[in-house]
């Protein structure tokens, strides 16, 4: 039990702050599992967060995100920035297990003490992933990494949520995935601060580039063109050859400078914390209520909903009235 008590926890926090990678890896597991001792550690680390620039990288499967992240890390390392990578892969909804394979494409980064890569499974828990990722990222931030890259498969709402926790969100597209404008349909463009057309040497890249540019222009005119707004650049890359990566790193840095200069960074951080506070309040209140309700009460209510004997809004009022 040496690790579970308050003193062990405080020691671990000190070790994480001093750059101990083993302690860091351990704490990430505790945080990911929502272990009780993680909460105290996160509280102790919170004042040390807010320094890293958080970069979300998202896109459909097959766009080459992992290779892109691999190359981007190399560029950042060339600028003497330390980098942590959180690579999220989907949990199988059928078995609860996951194959986390992003390290395959990041083998170039092995042996570099300025890089730390952590794989995470999405677990399929609604809302849970965004929170677990936010906490994992926070620990890496406190551990002193200059940049934290968060790589997710941009397929669902929770991935979009994660991307939103980043300061700069990079959305990756690639030609030849069957539909050049898939991202546009999914509404994922709206979260992009920087757009990448990866595999730019392949047929269809130019069409993908033009489609992106056109839809960005539509978005822009709809929002009106205030001078202080950021217009997402579109960067062409060939990640496996390292092409376009310096430009991508530049674009991310420009966005960072824009956030710092315009006050947008502070605004984003405020919105992010407000959303997190709201989410945590909802989760906590729900858990508290569910714990107080008589056994089977919730299930019984669901049965009544199913039989159309009650509607959801009235059900909530009844449950809350019974509780009060």
């Amino acid at each position: 039990m040496e690790d579970e008590g308050g003193r062990g926890g405080a020691r671990r926090v000190a070790e994480v702050l001093s750059g101990d990678r083993r302690a860091l890896a351990r704490l990430l597991t505790l945080v990911e599992n929502g272990a009780p001792e993680a909460e105290a550690a996160l509280a102790a680390l919170f004042p040390h967060t807010g320094r890293a620039h958080l970069i979300g990288v998202t896109g459909a499967p097959g766009t080459g995100k992992s290779s892109l992240v691999n190359e981007l890390v190399k560029v950042l390392r060339g600028r003497a920035l330390s980098v942590a990578v959180v690579a999220v892969d989907p949990t199988s909804p059928f078995t609860g297990g996951a194959i986390l394979g992003d390290r395959i494409r990041m083998r170039d980064l092995a042996g570099d003490p300025g890089v730390f890569i952590r794989s995470m499974a999405s677990r399929g828990a609604l809302g849970g992933l965004a929170r677990a990722t936010a906490d994992v990222v926070r620990v890496l931030d406190a551990a002193g990494f200059d940049r934290v890259l968060i790589e997710t498969v941009g397929a669902g709402q929770s991935e979009v949520e994660i991307a939103r926790t980043a300061h700069t969100t990079v959305v990756v597209e690639a030609p030849g995935l069957g539909d050049e404008v898939q991202g546009i349909k999914a509404g994922i463009l709206e979260i992009a601060d920087v757009l990448v057309v990866n595999k730019a040497d392949q047929p269809g890249a130019e069409a993908a580039f033009r489609a992106l540019r056109a839809s960005l222009e539509i978005g822009r005119s709809a929002h009106g063109d205030a001078p202080a707004t950021w217009s997402p650049p579109i960067i062409k890359t060939v990640a496996i050859q390292g092409q376009g990566l310096a430009e991508l790193a530049e674009a991310i840095e420009r966005h960072r400078a824009f956030l710092d200069g315009s006050g947008g960074g502070r605004e984003r951080e405020r919105a992010r914390l407000a959303a997190e506070l709201g989410q945590r309040l909802r989760d906590t209140l729900y858990a508290r209520l569910a714990a107080r309700l008589a056994a089977g009460r919730l299930e019984g209510m669901i049965d009544r909903l199913l039989a159309r004997q009650i509607d959801p809004a009235t059900a909530v009022r009844e449950l809350l009235a019974a509780e009060a």
Binding site: A35, A110, S119, A121
Partner: protein, 140 residues
């Protein structure tokens, strides 16, 4: 709170390019509900130890078909110990002559599985190794 998932690193050290076995095992472990960190081909012992550290692996599974298991295994165990991960069980699967198994066990390999081992056997061994490690942590 989420239940704790077994984090198992599946790595393929050495220079042969056959990862079918490793992939079959990775899928079987995934289907058993584990989080499988799959690192791919041609991993050096240093890369494996580094990944085990960063990923906080509960178990390391090595697939070795090259015949170099008696050279690779002690090196990987040594690096894990140097990183403070001497408590992480290491299992090996692949082309392992029966007569080498006692030597592997003696150097601290937690399980060695030759050709023809069922995936069920491997899944059970990984689960048992992880649970033993966890109970040591709780007891220690």
């Amino acid at each position: 709170m989420d239940e704790r998932k077994i984090r198992v690193l599946v790595a393929k050290p050495g220079l042969d390019g056959h990862d079918r076995g490793a992939k079959v095992i990775a899928r079987a472990l995934r289907d058993a509900g584990m989080d499988v960190i799959y690192t791919g081909l041609r991993q050096t012992p240093e890369m494996i130890a580094e990944a085990a550290l960063q990923e906080d692996a509960d178990v390391v599974g090595l697939s070795i078909l090259s015949g170099a298991h008696l050279a690779l295994a002690p090196r990987i165990l040594e690096l894990l110990r140097a990183n403070g991960q001497g408590d992480v069980p290491v299992l090996i699967g692949g082309i392992l002559p029966d007569e080498d198994v006692p030597a592997l066990k003696a150097m601290g390999i937690a399980g060695a599985f030759g050709p023809g081992t069922s995936t069920e056997t491997v899944v059970a061994a990984v689960r048992e190794a992880a649970q033993k490690k966890w109970s040591r942590e709780r007891g220690g």
